[in-house]
């Protein structure tokens, strides 16, 4: 089975420790986030659903398809990695990704993307977002394992054509279909987004 993330949006309370732990671990410049916690308006009631998401290591990664310099590779375990040295900062991958997962560093003029903390994993460690979440609301691993991480978690695999590998535990405040438009590029019928971009 390929690798992927699972998140528990029912328990996430929006502290964004994962987002900054990721930035800090990869020594990114301030404000360059490979993992971002989106604040999505709840489908019911006045509340917010916090959706922590980085790269979903899709089956059919669009970043890999559109990159003009061939910076992206899909490893045998499913991890989609970027060879940062090759990046020319054209942002094609960001636009092509249904989740805008790659992130552009203005000061460097180049793009970064989550590799599931490949170096940490090769040292036998969990990704930094996973260990930093104070509520243990992010898991990473083989899909058959992460599918079991949270009771009732569902895959968003079939919501968009790229086949993202993300399991989401959610309640009535978040529809899986919301992931089609998670950054509000198209009209979002249920819930708007405090947008990125």
């Amino acid at each position: 089975m390929p690798v992927g993330f699972a998140i528990n949006t029912v328990n996430c309370f929006g502290c964004k420790t994962c987002q900054l732990a990721c930035e800090n671990t990869h020594l990114q410049n301030p404000g360059v986030f490979m993992r971002r916690v989106r604040e999505v308006n709840a489908t019911e009631g006045p509340g917010t659903v916090f959706v922590s998401m980085a790269c979903n290591h899709c089956d059919d990664p669009q970043c890999l398809k559109v990159c003009p310099v061939g910076a992206y590779t899909k490893l045998t375990d499913g991890t989609v990695v970027q060879d940062h040295e090759k990046c020319i900062g054209c942002k094609s991958c960001i636009m092509a990704c249904p989740f805008h997962a790659p992130t552009f560093d203005e000061s460097e003029g180049a793009t970064y993307k989550c590799d599931g903390c490949l170096d940490r994993r090769s040292a036998g460690l969990l990704p930094q977002c996973v260990i930093s979440c104070p509520g243990a609301n992010i898991q990473f691993g083989n899909l058959d394992e992460v599918a079991q991480a949270y009771d009732g978690a569902e895959s968003i695999h079939d919501t968009v054509a790229t086949g993202p590998n993300l399991y989401v535990k959610h309640n009535e405040n978040l529809d899986l279909d919301d992931f089609k438009h998670i950054d509000g590029r198209e009209t979002v019928d249920v819930g708007s987004v405090d947008g990125w971009l």
């Binding site: 900054l20 800090n24 671990t25």
Partner: protein
């Protein structure tokens, strides 16, 4: 390298990674009570920030102008020495004021200043009052004997948890998953807040009451518990002064022996006589009704029941803006729960005009239902190892200090203007952004303007520093050795000095050490930080070398419970429901409902009730300069406005707006939604006052009413209006 994150928060041990002499990464240290948060990680940016102060700065323009020149430390010390000596010579040492705040709870920082000022003459004037949790100081402490007895390890064992006027998703972030475990185990979370907070979202109950009306809700809930017979009679008799008899003045408890201040009298059913509350083989009654004393005396229980009954359903619905049925359901569920807990957590609701009583009534609810002293119950406000075993004093203080008159933080500007209690010639501010955090900014600034020589010690240029004559650059965590044995964490953690401070920044201790040498204070500060850390650790039987090896030590005793078994360290050994200390301040010894002067129900000129919420982004104003956190959360202060209130004023989501009243103005960006009750506007605490950000501090509009019971900071009893534009 290890360092403690020690603002007014949970005091995590952080592990810092250094590359080429520069801090590059922070993770949680191995020994902590819970996970860390983004603020701790953002210390990487904070330590490395180009905005750090690197040299002493001397003002070259009027206060607030931001005009400074760099001077040498020699010149800075000369200035301080001269102003200290001049102040003492002209008006005595009490004409020197100082305030040390909550920006750094590590033991060598604020204590160095406290000790230093004790050695000037017979001591200086320290600003009094606890602006953070004066409500709990005035409410919980006299009732239970002490406060800050942490129940954090009991959260998971609770079945019903009330978040009263606070938002633990933010202010107890690392522990919040314990509350989610309560839900997973079938328990209930209830949030009391005018705003649909992050904690309300995770709660099964949400009581959206008006600001300042918590006291009414608490008394109404208590009335439900009393009238529906849901109280724990055995607990009240065994562990509280509920059965004790009030004397005929109504101001004191009836004593059996006038020489024994705790010889409280109770009615013994067996003998039909009044006897001492702690006599053996007695059967006290909670009420005197039906006894021969019925027309002569009242018990504390009877008096409380009367006060509670005054908040009837109609009063509750008017004052709180919620339905009486909702309040009754929560009261019943809380009373019926096997293990019920109230999270006061130094919440914003106590920073209201009668907030001390609101916290006290919360304690009544816990005591009436027998919910203090057992697994999974209690009232949580804060607490750390320092509240269980007091940390040692790092520095020797002057034993000949005399008590000085009170210079209240919340009334600072007014008192300085009228030289009350003294003419102040000099003031020092350390570990605190006084001008941005104290209520009624413009009065605070007027006070700072009047004082001839103000010194601020900080890492950054702040609103307070801008109103100072001398600004001293202070070292950050990882740049100075310190220890944290505090009242917020049960971990004692070491802060190591692994980095060079930028420019010529020095630790508070080093500044004090040099000044003391000049002032001729002998050897009091002449030793190494390690020596003073040993002093702090002595009561714990921990050596400096052990802490140096382990970096952080978990001091928790797994068998410890707050007020275990319902035993209270009061003079009587029982929870004191009748508080004569309040009487001394002109308030009755049993709380009664009083409407705050700046309640929305009294609104006239200013129709909106403003509350200030805490954020994931800052602790007070600490971290407010950091670009990373601004990008993750907000880059200018928001004002959260109810949709109807916004429409009435032509305000749309995202508009720049000005919140205002007679005290001042606060420039924000409007967030328009229905998460906030109509008539209420939610502001954010912790923004710099126009220094380095677009916008100002919400303290510009907040209420600094004085005096109040407990001299509370009443920022959440504040009426305002809002208009579009700056």
């Amino acid at each position: 390298m290890y360092g403690c994150c020690s603002p007014e928060c949970q005091h995590h041990s952080l592990k810092g990674y250094v590359r080429d002499g520069k801090l590059v990464k922070i993770e949680a240290g191995e020994v902590n009570e819970c996970g860390i948060c983004p603020r701790g990680i953002a210390r990487v940016e904070m330590v490395n920030s180009d905005a750090r102060l690197t040299m002493p700065l001397k003002a070259t323009g009027p206060k607030g102008s931001g005009q400074f020149e760099e001077i040498s430390w020699d010149e800075a010390f000369d200035l301080m020495e001269q102003h200290i000596n001049d102040a003492v010579e002209s008006d005595g040492s009490q004409s020197i004021a100082y305030t040390v705040g909550s920006g750094n709870f590590s033991n060598l920082s604020t204590n160095a200043w406290r000790a230093f000022f004790s050695w000037i003459g017979d001591g200086c004037t320290m600003l009094s009052d606890n602006t953070c949790c004066a409500g709990i100081d005035a409410g919980m402490t006299p009732m239970l004997g002490k406060r800050a007895q942490a129940t954090r390890d009991q959260f998971v064992h609770s079945n019903y948890v009330i978040f009263w006027g606070n938002n633990p998703a933010i202010t107890l972030g690392g522990y919040f998953e314990r509350f989610e475990e309560v839900v997973a185990n079938g328990g209930t979370l209830c949030t009391i807040d005018p705003y649909y907070s992050e904690s309300a979202e995770k709660s099964q109950e949400w009581l959206q009451i008006y600001p300042s009306s918590d006291l009414a809700l608490g008394l109404h809930m208590l009335n439900t518990i009393i009238t529906e017979d849901l109280y724990d009679q055995d607990y009240l008799i065994a562990h509280t002064t509920a059965p004790c008899i009030i004397d005929q003045t109504g101001n004191n408890l009836l004593l059996g022996d006038s020489n024994n201040s705790t010889s409280y009298q109770v009615y013994d059913r067996r003998t039909g006589q009044l006897v001492a509350h702690d006599a053996q083989d007695i059967d006290p009654t909670l009420s005197l009704k039906g006894t021969q004393y019925e027309n002569q005396y009242q018990t504390v229980f009877d008096a409380i029941a009367e006060r509670a009954a005054e908040v009837d359903d109609a009063t509750l619905e008017t004052e709180c803006g919620i339905s009486a049925e909702d309040a009754k359901r929560v009261a019943r569920d809380y009373a019926h729960a096997e293990h019920a807990m109230i999270i006061q957590n130094m919440g914003g609701y106590q920073r209201t005009e009668f907030g001390a009583w609101a916290t006290a009534v919360g304690i009544y609810l816990a005591l009436f239902t027998g919910n203090i002293g057992h697994v999974g119950d209690g009232v949580y406000d804060a607490g750390g190892i320092n509240n269980i075993q007091t940390a040692g004093s790092p520095f020797q203080t002057n034993p000949n200090v005399t008590q000085k008159g009170s210079l209240h933080r919340v009334h600072f500007g007014e008192q300085i203007e009228s030289d009350d209690p003294y003419k102040i010639n000099m003031m020092l501010i350390a570990c605190q952004n006084f001008a941005a955090q104290m209520p009624n900014t413009n009065m605070v600034k007027r006070g700072l303007e009047k004082i001839p020589f103000v010194v601020t010690v900080d890492m950054f240029m702040t609103a307070t520093a801008q109103y100072s004559d001398l600004v001293l650059p202070v070292a950050a965590v990882f740049e100075k050795e310190d220890v944290t044995a505090s009242s917020r964490s049960n971990i004692i953690s070491l802060s190591e000095a692994g980095l060079e401070p930028p420019g010529q920044a020095k630790s508070d201790f080093e500044i004090v050490k040099e000044l003391s040498k000049r002032m001729g204070f002998g050897d009091i500060f002449s030793d190494t930080p390690a020596h003073y850390i040993e002093n702090v650790l002595r009561p714990y039987n921990i050596s400096y070398d052990r802490l140096k090896g382990e970096k952080a030590i978990d001091m928790r005793d797994p068998n410890w419970l707050a007020f275990k078994g319902g035993n209270f360290p009061t003079a009587s050994g029982k929870a004191e429901l009748f508080v004569t200390r309040w009487e001394n301040q002109g308030f009755p010894p049993i709380p009664e409902y009083r409407r705050a002067e700046e309640s929305i129900l009294n609104a006239d000129k200013y129709p909106l009730a403003a509350v200030q919420r805490k954020t994931y982004r800052t602790i007070h104003t600490t971290f407010s300069q950091l670009e990373t956190l601004q990008k993750m959360f907000e880059d200018r202060p928001p004002a959260i406005i109810n949709t109807e209130d916004a429409q009435d004023r032509g305000i749309a989501n995202g508009d720049i707006v000005t919140v205002f009243n007679d005290r001042g103005e606060h420039v924000c960006r409007a967030k328009v939604n229905d998460r906030v009750k109509k008539g209420v506007i939610v502001l954010e605490n912790g923004w710099q006052d126009g220094v380095g950000i677009d916008g100002t501090s919400s303290s510009n509009v907040t209420n600094n009413a004085f005096p109040t019971l407990g001299t509370i900071h009443t920022c959440n009893s504040t009426l305002v209006d809002v208009r579009k534009g700056e």
